[in-house]
């Protein structure tokens, strides 16, 4: 009974299935017949056209139609005038300057006479260690005489950029003199020391070039690097191992270095720390890794070397190995402005593409003639260099045993840089202590020294300290007085 009903169920379901199948088959046959009928005998390009081709074509058309439909984007609604007005009303700008704090109110001491080795501040005569007057040329009669003649002949300003009648014959003479003194083919004069480096670098380095630079360079160089938009890589201050590693890394990373220009930028005597760059080591590295060297000789021109020709003479390196040498003339040469020297191609290129040269008025002619006279005086009196070296040695000896302050600069550098042995941890507090020391030295002992100040936009992170600029015109008693005074004042301030 059971099996009978099961059998009959199977029979019914199979009958239904076969019926459904028969219906489907008949429909399909009918459809095929209908589609085949019109083109039953059509042969196009050797391909039999069957009815299925029509279905495929239809499908293709449907796909193309869907693809061509734009995807749904939410409609764009630009801001209406009223909305812009509201936004403009709501916007509150920051004040132009941050609120003034107490440290911003300090005023520098005012000089009432020339900034020579002895100068008058607030009515008192003090010993001046704050001017970079390395050869003592401030107040020299020959300099003053040549300036006076130039003033009476040319007036003060040159009233025009170099391209538009601002080139006076003293400029050309000065450039020739500097080139002759240093032994290079040509040189170019800038009208301000700070603008020399930040106009020269963007003329030779553009986006994509690589520049390896010491982390202690001054703001002028940092600004020039920023304006050139090249890739900047810093290495540890005056550390040749770090330089070697950086050069290694940079050349390994950039295989397509044939088209890239690669530079190393260093200062001869660093303004921010008084260290001297080891040029012979740098030249060795430069030749090994094929970089070009830019050297800033502001504080070493007229100071280092047996005849004052700078760092290249000091290390016995021929000057042709340095590609670009720049210097500010506001230090040893006791005048203003700056110059750049190098091969003829380098100098000519700057005459049209260095923005600080082309778009700015030229150096006042009396300052150019002062520079010529200063170089003449230096060449005729090499005894000034000897005196300067002796003074530096004396001061070093006198300042080397001050409790709480240590000398951070090189033993032959004309900038003697004293920094705190134990820093308080923050630059601001260090600066407060150091400025206190400098103030007291000025007020109580008539010794004029300054603490180094940093701008908020300066990227250098080296320690701050007290800077003394030694001059060939300082006498022994001046130096002894300075050492004694600093010892006393430092002990007073740092003990409390």
């Amino acid at each position: 009974m059971f099996e009978a009903s099961l059998n009959s169920q199977i029979e019914i379901s199979s009958a239904m299935a076969s019926a459904v199948l028969k219906i489907v088959n008949t429909t399909l046959d009918w459809v095929t017949f209908a589609l085949d009928a019109p083109s039953a005998r059509a042969v196009v390009f050797g391909v039999q056209i069957g009815g299925h081709l029509f279905v495929e074509v239809l499908l293709l058309v449907v796909i193309l139609f869907l693809l061509s439909q734009k995807s749904y984007k939410p409609p764009k609604r630009p801001l209406t005038k009223k909305e812009i007005d509201e936004l403009c009303d709501e916007w509150v700008p920051e004040p132009l300057i941050p609120p003034l704090t107490e440290e911003m109110q300090s005023e520098p001491p005012v000089l009432e006479s020339a900034a020579g080795p002895h100068t008058v501040v607030n009515g008192k005569e003090v010993v001046n260690f704050a001017s970079a007057n390395y050869l003592g040329l401030i107040g020299h009669e020959k300099l003053l005489a040549s300036c006076t003649t130039a003033l009476e002949k040319y007036g003060v300003g040159s009233c025009g950029p170099r391209g538009f009648y601002g080139t006076i014959d003293v400029h050309l003479d000065c450039e020739a003199r500097i080139a002759k003194f240093l032994g290079t083919p040509d040189s170019i004069l800038y009208s301000y020391g700070l603008s020399t480096m930040f106009s020269a670098i963007p003329a030779f380095a553009k986006r994509g070039d690589i520049i390896v630079v010491d982390e202690g360079v001054h703001w002028g160089i940092q600004n020039g690097l920023h304006l050139s938009r090249s890739t900047i890589v810093y290495f540890k201050h005056n550390d040749m191992e770090s330089l070697r590693n950086t050069l290694e890394k940079v050349t390994a990373e950039n295989e397509r270095a044939k088209k890239l220009r690669r530079y190393i930028v260093v200062e001869a005597v660093y303004q921010n720390s008084g260290q001297i760059a080891p040029l012979d080591e740098i030249i060795r590295l430069k030749e090994e890794y094929r970089f070009r060297v830019l050297l800033d000789e502001s504080n070493s021109f007229g100071v280092l070397g047996s005849s004052g020709r700078g760092l290249t003479e000091y290390y016995g390196v021929p000057i042709e190995k340095i590609d670009i040498v720049t210097a500010a003339m506001g230090h040893a040469l006791a005048t203003e402005g700056g110059f750049c020297t190098g091969s003829a191609r380098v100098i000519d290129h700057q005459r049209l593409s260095s923005s600080g040269y082309v778009f700015s008025a030229s150096l006042p002619p009396y300052l150019a003639s002062a520079a010529i006279t200063a170089i003449d005086v230096l060449e005729e009196n090499p005894v000034l260099l000897k005196k300067l070296k002796e003074n530096i040695a004396l001061l070093w000896k006198g300042l080397s045993d001050i409790p709480g302050l240590s000398i951070a600069s090189n033993v032959e550098s004309p900038i003697v840089f004293l920094k705190l042995e134990k820093s308080t941890g923050s630059m601001k507090n260090d600066l407060i202590l150091l400025e206190d020391i400098a103030d007291r030295a000025l007020k109580e002992d008539n010794i004029f020294v300054v603490a180094s100040k940093r701008s908020t936009i300066d990227k250098c992170r080296l320690a701050v300290g007290i800077r003394l600029f030694v001059s060939a015109a300082h006498s022994e008693s001046d130096l002894r007085k300075a050492s004694a005074s600093l010892k006393r004042v430092a002990a007073l301030v740092l003990r409390s």
Binding site: P93, P108, C147, V156, K258
Partner: protein
């Protein structure tokens, strides 16, 4: 708006095209011969990449004798130009000892303080003997003398602001101040024809820079509204602050800036206004106080006023004038104040004496005479040039007059012909101006007498006929001619 006649446009394009083609052919030959000679710089990329100095080598060197002419006397109304000759087709120029006395129409000496002056020079020599040519120290260290403080007071009074700070060079003033005032997250909106020092400063600051159409307050308003509504790029956060930078007189166009409208817009949208008066301080205005006086704008409405002393005061350096707090802040943080050698004391003395002369404090009326003279001279010269049919840019009262040349061949032709007749003029072309718009720029000074100006006009008219630059008919205001020209902005 500069309107170039059709024919001139075509010929200018053709001339430049020819020069470029010839330049490239010569470069090809240079490369071929360069293959054979060896270069000892193995492994180094060339210091000047190939196409960077194409303009320098192939176009500029041909006309190099028109630029950078050395002089051997003070740049007064007449000066001595040193003659130069060349043996290698203008690539290098050698000096001779021959000089020719020429009329000076190129130096920026608007009030005639450029040469030795009877009141200023003795005082300058005195201060030189007292303070030496340089202090060798920065302002914060040991470089502030009594003269510097005095100068800052004088400048602040002259300009009409509470306080001022001075620097040794005008270019550095802009490049070092703008980064101190604004940084990343701020917006600088500057005129499209601003000077290179402003562009340098704006780039060095790290802020976003947007440009508005030259001297068009309506476009400035559009740009301001759009930028405030949009905010910083990509993050759309609101801007920290906005500074709008304009110049008083634009040195390549001779136009005055539309200051009153721009200040109204700045105030409405709470942006700070920075005015660069390099060419206009001392040269325009009834008492020489610059565009603010000429156009009737209160100095208190402009937040930061900048200027240079090179042009009208015959010295060197730049200043910034503003509120006491602003100046105090700048003295604390501006790198040019902290690191650069302070201004040369004799130069400071020259400016103080020049300001005294202008204000009449020297006991004579020379200052007022100079100011009246320059206005008279510039207006007379400009109207005569327009009558002759030259295309002169700029507004009345401005002492700078650019005359359009367009064709590159006319640049050396005009310059050399004028020099033959002892008139020295300044040619300006690429890159200081757009490539097609080369011009002659005339700068009038208060030390030019009427005879000088008449002689100059004669020579310019003669040379203009020879070279063919009288684009307009000799009567002013002919409407038909203007409709046929192609307008070029």
């Amino acid at each position: 708006m500069i309107a170039i006649p059709y024919l001139t446009l075509l010929t200018t394009y053709f001339s430049y095209g020819l020069l470029f083609v010839f330049g490239h052919i010569r470069d090809l030959f240079r490369n071929i011969t360069g293959w054979f000679s060896s270069n000892n710089l193995q492994g180094y990329a060339p210091i000047c990449l190939g196409q960077e100095d194409f303009y320098l080598r192939r176009l500029y060197f041909r006309i190099q004798d028109c630029f950078a002419r050395p002089i051997s006397s003070a740049p007064g109304a007449w000066f001595d130009v040193i003659e130069r000759y060349s043996n290698d087709n203008n690539k290098t120029l050698k000096r001779t000892t021959k000089i020719s006395r020429c009329l000076n129409l190129g130096s920026y000496s608007y009030l005639g303080f450029s040469a030795s002056d009877e009141y200023c020079t003795p005082r300058v020599v005195e201060s030189l003997k007292k303070y030496s040519p340089s202090t060798c120290s920065s302002r914060v260290d040991g470089g502030t003398t009594v003269l510097h403080n005095q100068l800052e007071e004088y400048v602040a009074n002259f300009v009409g602001k509470p306080a001022a700070i001075v620097f040794g060079m005008g270019f550095v003033t802009n490049s070092a101040i703008i980064p101190a005032l604004i940084g990343k997250g701020g917006l600088i909106i500057s005129d499209s024809l601003n000077h290179s020092s402003i562009i340098n400063g704006a780039r060095g600051s790290g802020a976003t820079v947007r440009v508005f159409q030259h001297n068009s307050p309506s476009h400035l308003e559009e740009v301001l509204r759009e930028q405030i509504a949009d905010g910083q790029p990509r993050t759309h956060r609101p801007w920290k602050k906005i500074i709008v930078i304009v110049e008083g007189i634009y040195s390549m166009e001779g136009e005055l800036c539309k200051l009153p409208e721009i200040i109204t817009i700045c105030k409405k949208y709470k942006a700070y206004a920075y005015l660069d008066e390099a060419h206009s301080i001392g040269a325009v205005g009834k008492t020489g106080r610059g565009v603010c006086e000429l156009l009737g704008v209160e100095p208190a409405d402009v937040d930061i006023m900048m200027g240079t002393f090179t042009k009208s005061f015959g010295s060197c350096g730049g200043y910034i004038a503003g509120s006491k707090e602003l100046i105090q802040y700048l003295k604390y943080t501006c790198p040019a104040h902290l690191y650069a050698t302070s201004m040369s004391p004799p130069a400071a003395e020259q400016i103080i004496s020049a300001i005294k002369v202008l204000l009449g404090e020297d006991g004579t009326s020379r200052g007022a005479k100079k100011l009246a003279q320059i206005r008279e001279n510039s207006n007379f010269f400009r109207s005569e040039l327009l009558k002759m049919g030259f295309e002169v840019l700029g507004d009345y009262d401005s002492p700078i007059m650019p005359i359009m040349l367009y064709n590159p061949a006319k640049i050396p032709a005009f310059s050399r012909e004028c020099l033959k007749q002892n008139v020295a003029v300044v040619m300006v072309s690429f890159p200081a101006t757009p490539l097609l718009l080369a011009r002659v720029r005339i700068c009038i000074s208060a030390s030019h007498t009427k005879e000088d100006l008449v002689k100059a006009l004669e020579v310019i008219s003669q040379v203009g006929d020879l070279v063919g630059i009288k684009y307009f008919p000799a009567e002013p205001g002919n409407q038909q001619q203007e409709e046929k020209m192609l307008k070029l902005d």
